[in-house]
């Protein structure tokens, strides 16, 4: 059997019911835009959380009287810990320099002495970039001789850890919901189109066209809806991201995969929904 016939009939049907076509594509585009923006939101949240985690650091303050040599022992000890990725030693002088850079005044001139203690900035390995691991490690380090205090961004950590799973679940849930909405929309439109074309289906049945043959034009049509809907949605998302970058926040990140996903989902829901409605309604006709 010729695929040419299916494609030709599919395209013909596509051009024929203009209003139904317009409504279907519009609704698919809207659903896919929302899905696409959700994917971008998810990517950005994920990126943001990752950045925050990566920059998590534990500051270990040493006794002010420590010599560099004594401090180096602590550094070596810290480096041996399995959770630790890197350790940066900041001497008293460096601490003063940093203070000056940050606040514009030299603490040594103001006070006549340097009260800033030497410290170590400890970064965690990725697997330990969470509140629990950091708290546990801090507990241990705090008991060491020569360590006066251990400080880290406790509250932010806790917030991230508490809500991140929830946020992801919400995003996935809403994404799935949107997917279902888009499928129902195409499904509904294909159903309308099938009813509008019951004449041609009836005649195809009469002259002995097989079911597969009768279905194919509708599948072509459904896939076309999904593809066009996906392409338009991608374009709109791209423009929205551009506008957002220019006017609101330049640091928003995006990747081509999210655009491919939107297009792929469009085609997939186009196929699935027309498959479902063709199956359901072919039996009822005539």
């Amino acid at each position: 059997m010729s695929l040419g016939f299916s494609i030709k009939e599919g395209l013909k049907g596509f051009g024929r019911a203009r209003m139904a076509t317009f409504i279907t594509i519009t609704s698919v585009v809207l659903a896919l835009i929302m899905i696409g923006l959700f994917i971008l939101l998810a990517i950005n949240i994920d990126h943001w959380v990752g950045e925050k985690r990566r920059h998590l650091q534990v500051e270990v303050f040493l006794e002010p009287a420590f010599t560099d040599l004594q401090a180096q022992k602590i550094v070596a000890k810290l480096k041996k810990l399995p959770e630790v990725q890197s350790v940066q030693y900041i001497s008293q002088q460096e601490a003063a320099e940093r203070f000056k850079k940050e606040f514009g005044r030299d603490v040594r001139e103001v006070l006549g002495t340097n009260p800033l203690p030497p410290s170590c900035i400890v970064r965690m390995k990725p697997a330990y970039q969470n509140a629990q691991a950091i708290a546990r490690l801090s507990q241990i380090i705090r008991t060491w001789d020569g360590v006066s205090d251990v400080v880290y961004g406790q509250s932010l950590l806790k917030i991230i850890d508490r809500y991140v799973t929830l946020v992801y679940l919400i995003i996935i849930g809403l994404g799935l919901l949107l997917l279902v909405v888009a499928t129902v929309l195409i499904h509904n439109s294909v159903r309308l189109i099938i009813y509008a074309r019951h004449e041609i289906i009836e005649i195809m049945k009469l002259v002995g066209a097989t079911r597969a043959f009768i279905r194919r034009p509708f599948l072509v049509e459904g896939i076309l809806y999904g593809f066009i809907g996906g392409a338009i949605a991608d374009l709109v998302i791209w423009i929205l991201v551009r506008v957002f970058q220019n006017w609101v926040y330049a640091g928003i990140i995006q990747n081509w995969q999210s655009y491919a996903i939107v297009l792929g989902l469009g085609i997939l829901i186009g196929f699935i929904s027309s498959e479902m409605s063709v199956n359901k309604h072919l039996n009822r006709l005539i």
Binding site: M1, S2, F5, R16, E199, I200, E202, I203, M204, K205, L206, V207, G208, A209, T210, R211, F213, I214, I286
Partner: protein, 217 residues
């Protein structure tokens, strides 16, 4: 060959057909006659297996209503031609395409399609109107398009459900002449009608049906 063995059919508890039995032989021409609502269209639907009997059996060539599988039905229908009172043409394509549709929808090869469509249009005297849309041609011409479409797959029988129901007497005779010609070439015809004068002008076997029963042969 078509055989009805004690066919009964109920729809929503209503008896549509009761114990209908008859045989139709190769190349035969027969009428199914009876008042409207008697069950004429139902009998034709049973033959092209759009519906199935509750009791009894319908046999069409090598297919039996008791055994046929859903995927076999299209192939059964390729051995039949069906024509209706309301023509059932596709309004968006011309005469040629309407006839060609039967071959395209069953996967005919383009070259063969052209060849056979031209021949069919000649057969029903529609060569001049080949590129006209259905809305531009008369009722008689529409029915001729439908007939050309019905016979293009070389069916062994043409089922016609009140094919002259929408046509005046003169046009009806034109259509009947075409059926006669088709029949003379060996194709069986089973025509549902309640036009008594046509039956008198073109006498053939009559199967008379009332309230779902065959009352005389």
């Amino acid at each position: 060959m078509i055989e009805f063995y004690n066919v009964s059919l109920n729809i929503d508890g209503k008896k549509i057909l009761q114990n209908v039995s008859f045989r139709l032989f190769k190349g035969e021409f027969a009428y199914i006659v009876g008042p409207s609502g008697a069950g004429k269209s139902t009998i034709l639907k049973l033959i092209y297996m759009d519906i199935f009997p509750d009791q009894g059996m319908v046999i069409v060539n090598n297919y039996s209503s008791a055994k046929i599988r859903r995927h076999e039905i299209p192939y059964l229908r390729r051995e039949l031609g069906v024509v209706f009172q309301d023509f059932k043409l596709l309004p968006d394509r011309n005469v040629y395409e309407n006839v060609a549709f039967a071959l395209r929808a069953t996967g005919g090869k383009p070259r063969e399609i052209r060849h056979r469509v031209v021949r069919m249009l000649n057969e029903v005297n529609l060569s001049q109107q080949r590129s006209m849309l259905p809305e531009k041609i008369s009722g008689g011409e529409k029915q001729r398009v439908a007939i050309a479409r019905a016979i293009i797959n070389d069916p062994f029988i043409v089922l016609a459900d009140e094919p002259t129901g929408n046509l005046d007497a003169r046009t009806s005779r034109e259509i009947m002449e075409i059926f006669e010609r088709i029949n003379r070439k060996g194709t069986a015809i089973l025509m549902a009608t309640h036009d008594q004068s046509l039956i008198e002008q073109y006498p053939h076997r009559v199967i008379k049906i009332e309230e779902g029963r065959i009352v005389s042969e």
